[in-house]
């Protein structure tokens, strides 16, 4: 019904610059109808009848020992099935020390308060602090040395759908409705807790409410705990985090500290030096890497050292381009500081330092689009409102991953695209339909996608921008194989040789004559025909999947020098990703990457209380993410330059934004703000410092 009023394709009136670049210029998101009408079912929406609700018991302090826990009182609460304490020490705010299972969410809440836990808080470390950088010799050949420390805070992923799993346990089999970025990795360990072989259960995640890296952790503690309870009671089980738990214990982008001591010449040439970085990894053993230098610029010989610093906080998880935005922030601002110190235009200096010719062309376009000519030299404005312009650059490599695919033509003339990979909002579903429709030669309307189900052909977990890049190669091969079989069967019916037939807009053509319509041909099949593909070395060659993505971003903003408030005017984001599959979802990925970078630059900060180690802002009011009114006009530009292969798009647009904004603020106020987020008080300090 809805399909008739909701078109699968409609042209976009805006952004003429991007017209005609993508395989599909006008396809709407395939699952857009289900999403705007509210019919899309997410894991959290699946509440099987007779289900058991589960939640963790968590430490409320940065570091504490539970002296007394009234398990008996909690167990006695009506509707409570079990209370299990697995440890007494909490090493960070939000660390689970056990769980409760109950008949309802209300019983869970009552039981949690009946536990009446008395905690003995202990000293908690809450930040990286100021580790000493060992003394380095001045770099050879330098006229000057820049020594500076750049820091970034802990950023939480803040997906709108929280982490969790709903398990429909049906005795000898089960369906795991997981909010996950890995349909297949979410099975890991589940066989053990369910006491079932993997052949008896499957993971379903048709719709996932965001992840950004935080849902790459297999079944996760949420899934495994729900699985254990489901198996124990032989009933469905449901465990989803609330917003506070989501901030506290489902991963984050680790904080960073970057100490640079770098030499440069009078002409702005950077001759090398040392970069020492620290990553704040909470109680985790690692994962705090800072990608600085990025290798995009020629910075001479850099000696790099990194150390992870542990403190009493939840551990990091991959977060959209792990390590990159924090590194790019330091690198871009450092380059602008050198440019300003040597009296050079930051654009001109980047043209000189950048290692990629293609990115130079991007700088030229970006400068034109943002109006770089209007930029005034850094530190020359004395008005209340000060205009600033900044630049950042990005790159991302294409990583190989295993992917299988299947395409089926059904006798009712529908084409089914089958991939077990997941669409976490990226547009994977839509992209795969477009790739197959194009390769087969059929209209997009006949293509349906089965996705997010571990009984479908295996696909990679969505991390590192590998999903579309790899699955599409398998899809192309599957479509080619299917087309061959299909045309052989049709040719036999028509009494012609298969090689003479083509499919054009669904019609079966011989030379320029229509032999059969799509419907007639499919009906003539009698049964479904399928083709399979697999991403392999061979398919990589055949369908040219190499190459990396790159881009530049330009920022235009205003700083109120009396309040320190930053107002973004425009951001131009030029991005290459090889052959663009779907224009609308690609533009959306770019804008979405920019807003996460912007939000990181201006607002986000997981704050741990210095005395108690507790997070003081575990919500979406005081842990602020950018809202509609914070956003400038963002102009995504799909770069045509290197249109070969299907290249990564998820991570690269979020890398340069914070750095570009910091550079623009520096340009406006005349002194760099070296700590994110760029809070008004820090901006005012920079202005004051610049005056003194």
């Amino acid at each position: 019904m809805a399909d008739r009023t909701m078109p699968s394709r409609s042209p976009l009136p805006n952004r003429p610059m991007n017209d005609g670049i993508a395989m599909s210029d006008d396809a709407n998101r395939l699952d857009g109808v289900a999403k705007v009408t509210g019919s899309a079912k997410y894991g959290r929406d699946v509440m099987p009848k007779n289900g058991v609700f589960v939640s963790f018991i968590r430490c409320p302090w940065g570091h504490a020992q539970a002296r007394s826990i009234d398990e008996e009182a909690a167990s006695a609460v009506a509707g409570v099935l079990e209370v299990e304490i697995t440890g007494r020490e909490g090493r960070y705010h939000g660390e689970p020390i056990g769980h409760i299972a109950a008949e309802s969410l209300a019983a869970l809440r009552r039981a949690r308060s009946a536990l009446n836990i008395e905690w003995d808080p202990e000293d908690a470390d809450t930040e990286i602090g100021s580790p000493e950088a060992s003394h380095d010799d001045d770099p050879d050949g330098a006229d000057h040395v820049l020594e500076a420390v750049y820091t970034t805070p802990v950023q939480t992923h803040s997906s709108l759908e929280t982490h969790g799993t709903s398990i429909d346990h049906m005795g000898d089999r089960a369906i795991i409705y997981a909010s996950t970025q890995g349909t297949f990795s979410a099975r890991e360990g589940m066989d053990r807790v369910l006491g079932m072989p993997q052949s008896r259960f499957k993971v379903v995640c048709e719709f996932v409410g965001g992840g950004f890296g935080s849902k790459l952790n297999g079944a996760g503690k949420e899934g495994l705990t729900a699985g254990r309870i489901a198996a124990k009671y032989g009933r469905p089980a449901w465990l989803f985090c609330d917003r506070a738990e989501e901030h506290l214990d489902t991963g984050n982008r680790p904080s960073s500290r970057t100490h640079v001591r770098i030499g440069y010449r009078d002409d702005g040439t950077i001759v090398g030096g040392s970069v020492r970085t620290w990553g704040g990894v909470g109680v985790a053993g690692g994962g705090g890497g800072v990608v600085m230098p990025s290798n995009r610029y020629d910075l001479g010989r850099i000696r790099k050292q990194h150390a992870d610093v542990r403190f009493n906080g939840g551990g990091p998880r991959a977060f959209r381009a792990p390590g990159h935005p924090q590194g790019a922030f330091a690198e871009e601002l450092m380059i602008d500081e050198v440019a300003t110190a040597t009296g050079r235009d930051p654009l001109e200096l980047r043209m000189k330092l950048d290692r990629e010719d293609e990115r130079r062309s991007m700088y030229e376009l970006g400068a034109r689009l943002i109006g770089w000519k209007r930029r005034q030299p850094t530190g020359t404005q004395a008005s209340v409102l000060r205009r600033g312009f900044g630049i950042g650059s990005t790159s991302w490599n294409r990583f190989p991953a295993r992917a299988d695919a299947e395409v089926v033509i059904h006798p009712d003339a529908s084409v089914e695209v089958r991939t077990g990979s997941q669409d976490i909002g990226t547009g994977q579903r839509t992209a795969m339909a477009i790739v197959v429709a194009r390769q087969l030669g059929v209209p997009l309307d006949v293509v349906h996608v089965s996705i997010g189900d571990s009984s479908l052909p295996a696909g990679p977990a969505s991390g590192g921008s590998v999903t579309a890049t790899n699955t599409s190669l398998a899809m192309l091969e599957a479509a080619d194989n299917l087309k061959e079989t299909f045309l052989e069967r049709i040719a036999a019916q028509l009494g012609v040789v298969a090689g003479a037939l083509k499919i054009r807009e669904g019609d079966i053509m011989q030379d320029d004559r229509r032999m059969m319509t799509w419907q007639e041909a499919c009906a003539a099949l009698g049964s479904a025909v399928s083709g399979r593909g697999s991403r392999s070395r061979r398919s990589d060659r055949q369908y040219s999947g190499s190459g990396h993505s790159m881009g530049v971003q330009f920022v235009d903003l205003e700083v109120d020098s009396e309040t320190g408030v930053i107002h973004l005017n425009r951001i131009v984001a030029i991005q290459s990703c090889g052959r663009v599959i779907c224009r609308k979802t690609a533009e959306s990925q770019i804008i979405g990457g920019v807003i996460q970078g912007l939000s990181f630059a201006l607002f986000e900060d997981k704050l741990l209380d210095r005395n108690t180690g507790a997070m003081v802002n575990p919500n979406l009011e005081f842990y602020r993410i950018a809202g509609p009114a914070d956003m400038p006009k963002i102009e995504p530009v799909l770069w045509e330059g290197n249109q070969t292969g299907i290249r990564p798009l998820g991570e690269p647009p979020t890398i340069p934004t914070a750095g570009a904004i910091a550079c623009a603020v520096f340009n406006a106020v005349g002194s760099p703000v070296r700590d994110l987020p760029l809070r008004p008080d820090r901006v005012l300090d920079a202005i004051e410092g610049g005056r003194s």
Binding site: N14, T37, E161, S588, G592
Partner: protein, 156 residues
């Protein structure tokens, strides 16, 4: 179980509810209207937005009892054909915030005079989205307003 009477998605309804249930719980868990999402549970993100007597409200902040006698509309009652602009403009990515966005946009569109005193970005500011960057959302609401103005025969 106690009951309240209300108008739900255009029809009179008698609804059983747990006394401690928020309207959000009653909708999602009692009535299986899972289009309404829970994003934060404390009125910050707007994912659970419903219309109560024509005005947007965070259903996570409304005790079910408080909705007695009210006209409650959820995303499920918004006519699909009016949502076409949001689909076309790319107002959705992961979709978890989308139902709230849709409901707020329906409120804006049924009160077009609001844009004389507020910007669309201000009107939509109660709905947080982590994926789209809001451009598609704002474009979609604007196109919806244009479409409505056109069908009323007025100049947009």
């Amino acid at each position: 179980m106690p009951q309240i009477q209300l108008t739900l998605n255009g029809s009179p309804a008698t609804v059983d509810y747990e006394p401690h249930h928020r309207l959000l719980d009653t909708l999602r868990y009692g009535l299986a209207l899972t289009g309404t999402k829970e994003g934060c549970g404390e009125g910050e993100c707007g994912a659970c937005t419903v219309l109560i007597d024509g005005r947007p409200a965070n259903s996570c902040l409304v005790p079910t009892y408080q909705a007695r006698g009210c006209d409650v509309r959820t995303v499920e009652s918004i006519p699909a054909e009016t949502l076409r602009p949001l689909l076309e403009s790319g107002a959705t990515q992961c979709g978890a915030c989308t139902p709230g966005v849709v409901v707020t946009s329906a409120w804006v569109r049924s009160n077009p005079e609001l844009i004389e005193t507020h910007t669309l970005r201000q009107l939509m500011a109660g709905n947080l989205c982590r994926c789209t960057g809001y451009d598609g959302i704002i474009d979609g609401v604007q196109q919806g307003l244009d479409m409505d103005a056109e069908s009323r025969g007025a100049k947009p």
